[in-house]
Amino acid sequence: MDFEFSEDQTMIIDSARKFLEKECPKEKVRELKEDEKGYDPDTWNKMVEMGWMGLIFPEEYEGTGMDFFDLMILMEEMGRNLLPGPFFSTVALCSLPILEFGSSDQKKEILPKIAYGEKIWTLALTETSATYEPSGVALQATLDGDYVLEGTKLFVPYANIADYMLVVARTSDKADPKEGITVFIVDAKSPGIKTEVIPTAAHDKQCEVIFDKVKVSKGNILGEPDNGWDIVEFIIQRASVLKSAEMLGGAQTALNMGNDYAKERVQFDKPIGSFQAIQHKLAKMLIDVEGLRFLVYEAAWKTSIGSQSALLNSIVKAKANEVFQRTCLESIKVHGAIGFTEELDLGLFFLRTKASEFALGDTGFHRERIAQELESYKPSFLS
């Protein structure tokens, strides 16, 4: 048992924290909310230099060969600082499944370009039904020499600037909605693709992407045709842990802000933190955030040693959904009216809660998955 970071990990944390504080002050976050692209190419290039894009690729794909846990730590730091941009969509949502399921040609072609920051990727999965269930995949891909894609994807992060997309489409209709799904590698500039940014509260550049008879060649399939749900499942498992790490970072910042403010703000001649109603609120937030922290670490650790657990991953995301929201809200209350303003950074965190919750499955979605696992698991008292 060891709850400490390795030296390498401590280095990642320290350098990421310094870098993000400098490169991504909250003025920048505010600016990028209004920016058309929604990210800063300059910062992006520096992230490339730090080796972040290919952090967990093997060297043959120009990566640094670190593991999933290391990537998780990086996500936590990004969450602490609210770094906007297509890192998550490129690295978590696309590079990981390509690394896992891509043919060796695909990997050779795609991954080094991601590592060098040359290409931005995103995942087009959810549709108007706004669900991560396989039944939500309705976009049709019909084989007619090439495949022809027809349909609409919603909440596709950073599709406005993406060079490529993984598009999850239905290639045949089977009784089980998990079957008949195929993941396509699609050039975002292909004729027939129309992208529009959805006005989300977080201004985080989630898009509607319309596919109007978009041609994709047979060679541009990730994995096997009709067996694509395995890939989506893989993405949900990995990315929900990484998203939870990002939310953990955000929750920790929200708690720290409330905690600091409770020591400074004086009312009735005392720091408000000496009022038990405030102090106990903060103490409960601490329990929430520390609980989430070790859950995220446990799930990331299990994944990095190859014994990932779907039950645990869903536990983590469900917990992250609740804790991130609750911590932001409670911290706002601790701040009083200033907490309600545009001026205080806390609002930026709160504005991310709904996007983060939805991403990779909301609480109801993951609770249901937990319940399914419980239905079949064997308690040790029966062993």
Binding site: F5, K263, H280, A283, I287, E298, E368, A371, S380
Partner: protein, 399 residues
């Protein structure tokens, strides 16, 4: 980071499971506060204490010279977790015998006290059963305000006063008693001393206090000119408070693992009950069980983190409070969800858990009616939240 237990712990867990299967009646499920209530349950618990001692588990964390095994905190954690999961009774030697009386004696006691008491506790002997006398009618959360007094008289101290909520006093041979030895001390926690008091001494009266369900858990204990040899003073006179703060650390290691093991078992029982009764079809029940498993998994990691800090030589201050508040929350939540699942059957009297109407051997009713006691004992949630505020968040004292 690495969240694996070692081989030693794995082996130990297996042995404990085997022990539970061999020594406990078939389909055994223990519940809170039962062992101190009924004579037959108490005797059974004591017989298990003896067997645990023979295995070397009862006081496994103590050094070998005092009847322990010098087990690591991780072995101790694995043991607490498994023992609770399997419902092994008789693990504590009353209230505090294993967890704090022994360790405190090792730290502060004279050789005479150590030689006398440590073997009794370590061997699971009836004379090694302790109760803990801290609380008084006017000193609960504000423990330093105790008024029971001990006055030196030659080779003896004369004790007068009253303790209350003293759990298992009716089962104990010894009392770990906190008293005032200096009532003029400038600060109230400066005049406190701790004594080992034989419960058979003349002048001690134990009066049962029943809980609303009818369990006999705790007692009032009256001290009327009770004469205790001066050699029974533990450590230094008037330094009792500081000694207690110090030895609290020992108690902390076992609490978190016990809570997790117990909760996990109840959750597992509920899951099986829902499966057998086709209750998984109900969305509210699915959600409830999912929420509980989120919380219990979280509890596990928090508990392990506390132990990790201790294993590195740290003295976790706010973490045990964090773990206690969280455990109390889980108990309450599980009691609500569990009774919801049992529906009408949740009404059965937990004292009659062998009744043919009782489901899951009464463990859910027991939980529902008795969790408030667990959450009050050893520091209320409010008091624990104060500790987290002050030491975990560096906020000013709030009271």
């Amino acid at each position: 980071m690495d969240f694996k237990f070692g081989e030693k712990e794995g082996k130990l867990r297996k042995e404990i499971r085997e022990f539970a299967k061999k020594e406990l009646p078939p389909n055994w499920l223990s519940v809170m506060f039962e062992e101190e209530h009924r004579d037959e349950d108490w005797e059974f618990a004591m017989s298990i204490s003896k067997k645990l001692s023979e295995k070397g588990w009862l006081t496994m964390s103590w050094p070998e010279e005092y009847g322990g095994k010098g087990a690591s905190l991780w072995e101790q954690l694995a043991y607490s977790e498994e023992a609770s999961y399997w419902g092994i009774p008789g693990t504590t030697m009353g209230v505090g015998g294993v967890d704090w009386v022994g360790p405190s004696l090792m730290m502060f006691g004279t050789d005479e006290l150590k030689k006398k008491h440590l073997p009794l506790i370590a061997s699971g002997d009836a004379d090694g059963v302790w109760c803990t006398g801290y609380s008084e009618p006017n000193a609960g959360s504000d423990f330093a305000s105790i008024r029971t007094r001990a006055v030196r008289d030659g080779d003896e101290y004369v004790i007068n006063g009253q303790k209350i909520w003293t759990s298992a006093a009716h089962r104990s041979r010894w009392c770990w008693l906190a008293v005032k030895t200096d009532i003029d001390a400038p600060k109230k926690h400066k005049g406190i001393s701790v004594f080992a008091v034989d419960m058979k001494t003349e002048g001690i009266t134990v009066r049962p206090l029943l809980n609303y369900v009818g369990y006999h858990i705790f007692n009032e204990v009256f001290f009327d000119d009770v004469r205790v040899p001066a050699t029974n003073l533990v450590g230094e006179e008037n330094r009792g408070w500081y000694q207690l703060m110090h030895s609290l650390g020992y108690e902390r290691g076992s609490v978190a693992g016990r809570g997790y093991g117990y909760n996990k078992r109840i959750l597992d029982e509920l899951i099986m009950y829902c499966r057998e009764n086709h209750l998984f079809d109900e969305p509210a029940i699915r959600n409830g069980l999912a929420d509980l498993s989120i919380e219990i998994e979280t509890q596990k990691m928090l508990a392990y983190e506390t132990i990790y800090k201790m294993s590195k030589g740290g003295v976790p201050i706010y973490e045990p409070s964090r773990d206690k508040v969280f455990n109390d929350h889980i108990l309450e939540h599980m009691a609500f969800i569990g009774t919801g699942i049992l529906g009408g059957y949740a009404q059965i009297d937990p004292m009659n858990r062998k009744s043919r109407w009782s489901k899951l051997k009464g463990c859910i009713e027991n939980l529902y009616w008795l969790f408030p006691g667990i959450s009050l004992a050893a520091g209320t949630d409010e008091v624990e939240l104060n500790i987290i505020g002050q030491y975990g968040l560096n906020l000013p004292k709030s009271y």
